[in-house]
């Protein structure tokens, strides 16, 4: 069974201070390495902050695009795609083709850029 682990974390204004960032990087590296050694790691990646999020919801067959993350709690996370797109417009185009009624009602897609794991300096 594959599981997607979703990390929920309160965003600090201006991001983490350098010292904390290093601690966090080390801690993640430890868990990622442990999972890789065990042979169970499929993917692990950070997301860009919610200020870069875009939400796409189909309304009368047309995409309704809004700034920011999906905030309502009436709908629950049902799955995910990771797609390599040229830019946000292409990502939006794909988002309009992904069905959102996986668990019943029509939902929406939140698009978050994945900037990649930070490189070691």
């Amino acid at each position: 069974m594959r599981y997607m682990m979703l990390i929920y974390s309160k965003e600090w204004e201006g991001g983490l201070p350098p010292e904390k960032r290093e601690q966090l990087k080390a801690a993640h590296r430890a868990s990622i390495d442990a999972a890789r050694r065990k042979g169970i790691l499929l993917a692990a990646e950070p997301l860009a902050p919610t200020s870069t999020a875009t939400t796409v919801r189909m309304q009368d067959g047309k995409p309704l695009i809004t700034d920011g993350p999906f905030a309502e709690t009436k709908e629950q996370l049902a799955g995910y795609y990771i797609l390599d797109c040229e830019n946000l417009d292409e990502a939006i185009e794909w988002a309009t083709r992904i069905p959102t009624s996986c668990k019943g009602g029509e939902g929406c897609i939140e698009i978050r850029p994945m900037p990649g794991l930070p490189r070691d300096d």
Partner: protein
């Protein structure tokens, strides 16, 4: 003696959008493009008084800004290895000599890309407006903050966030493909019209800056029509703004709002009206109907009436019906009801207005419109009550003064 500063400022106002649009295309960065243009402007202020104003000031600033951008990139490269966001090909950027030996540089017009990126639906409306005014309009952060009555720090933060999102989410710097053009254009037009309305809402205080907003929105509207000459709704929007703005001087008298009916029509700007009517004709000839054209057509019917009683209210009521088919909003329904009151009869209009109470009871114009019809019906006591209700729902001093004036006339 030429005033170099005001000359440079004029060039900046007129050309900065075009120059920034070109530099963003080259550098892939809003910040670096803006910085380079600022530096070029400062260089002009230093060089022109001493060496004289160049024969083509706009080309001088473009060339200098481009040089500043390259200098900054070189400096930057020593600090950062990663240069993936910098693309250094100059597409068809011809560079050559002019008659006085100055190097001149022209970019292809990239403002259409810029306007679509600034108004991308993945940015929120406030960010779209701020970014459009800052980059395309060349307004300073301070000017925009003042016009929208927000602290400068808030506005600056808004711009930083928007630019960051463009960068990090890879919002493209492109004109959308034909199949997406219409809906994306709607977003651009909404931003321009919002800027116009922000300036047009009658208010006291920061008067001048707000008139600047109307002028800026009209300028942006012209740019859009220049870039997309066959888009009927862009022409309709420009016509609408020109026709509404033509009444500006007559709209406020002694701190009080003046209704269309009571405005001194000799103070309407006839040049703006003629241009607005011409743009509307151009739009209608393209045969792509749309809400901005219909609203412009309504404004045109008012503009054409030499006296209030010559207004073609029947036609106006029909045009509001068309608008309602596209957008069944209670505010448009209220306007329709007023047109009905003026054309088919006050009683019929009043019945239509009253039917909207459930959705508009907290909207001051609902009560003001109702009060006006009651006043015309000479139902004074009811009119007074409605004017009082309206006055309780607005804080705008110019509108309040108007409502109080009506109340004084009735009691």
């Amino acid at each position: 003696m030429i005033d170099c500063r005001s000359l440079a400022e004029n060039v900046f106002r007129e050309e900065s959008g075009r120059i920034i649009a070109g530099l963003i295309r080259i550098s892939g960065s809003f910040d670096r493009a803006e910085e380079a243009v600022q530096e070029a402007f400062a260089a002009a202020l230093a060089a022109w008084p001493e060496h004289g104003v160049p024969s083509n000031p706009a080309a001088w600033i473009t060339t200098t800004a481009h040089r500043k951008l390259i200098d900054a990139a070189r400096r930057h490269r020593t600090h950062v290895e990663k240069q993936e966001s910098l693309r250094y090909e100059i597409e068809s950027g011809a560079s050559g000599g002019s008659e006085d030996g100055e190097e001149v540089m022209y970019f292809p017009d990239n403002r259409l890309r810029l306007i679509f990126t600034c108004c991308h639906p993945a940015l929120n409306r406030e960010a779209q407006v701020a970014l459009t005014l800052r980059t395309l309009g060349g307004l300073s952060t301070q000017e925009i903050a003042k016009a929208f009555l927000v602290p400068e720090a808030t506005l600056a933060q808004r711009l930083v966030r928007a630019k960051r999102k463009i960068q990090e989410a890879h919002i493209p710097y492109e004109v959308p493909p034909p199949e997406r053009l219409r809906e994306r254009l709607a977003s651009v037009q909404a931003v321009i019209y919002l800027i116009f309305n922000e300036g047009y809402t009658a208010s006291s205080g920061a008067g001048l800056i707000r008139e600047d907003l109307c002028a800026e929105a009209i300028r942006l509207g012209r740019v859009l029509c220049e870039l997309l000459p066959n888009d009927a709704e862009s022409l309709g929007l420009l016509a609408l703004m020109l026709l509404q703005n033509s009444r500006r001087a007559a709209r406020v008298r002694e701190g009080s709002l003046v209704t269309l009916e009571e405005q001194d029509r000799s103070r309407w700007d006839q040049d703006a009206i003629q241009e607005g009517l011409a743009r509307l004709d151009q739009a209608l000839a393209l045969r792509q109907a749309g809400p901005y054209q219909v609203q412009a057509a309504i404004a045109a019917l008012h503009a054409r009436a030499k006296a209030p009683e010559e207004t073609d209210w029947n036609q106006i009521a029909r045009l509001y019906e068309t608008l309602l088919e596209w957008n069944p909003s209670p505010v448009i329904a209220l306007n329709h009801a007023v047109a009905v009151a003026m054309s088919s009869g006050l009683e019929a209009g009043l019945r239509q207005i009253d039917a909207l109470r459930a959705s508009l009871d907290h909207y001051y114009l609902f009560h003001a419109a109702r009060a006006d019809v009651l006043r015309r019906l000479d139902r004074r006591a009811e009119a007074v009550k409605a004017y009082e209700r309206a006055a309780a729902l607005t804080a705008n001093p110019v509108e309040l003064e108007f409502l109080n004036k009506r109340l004084r006339e009735l009691t």
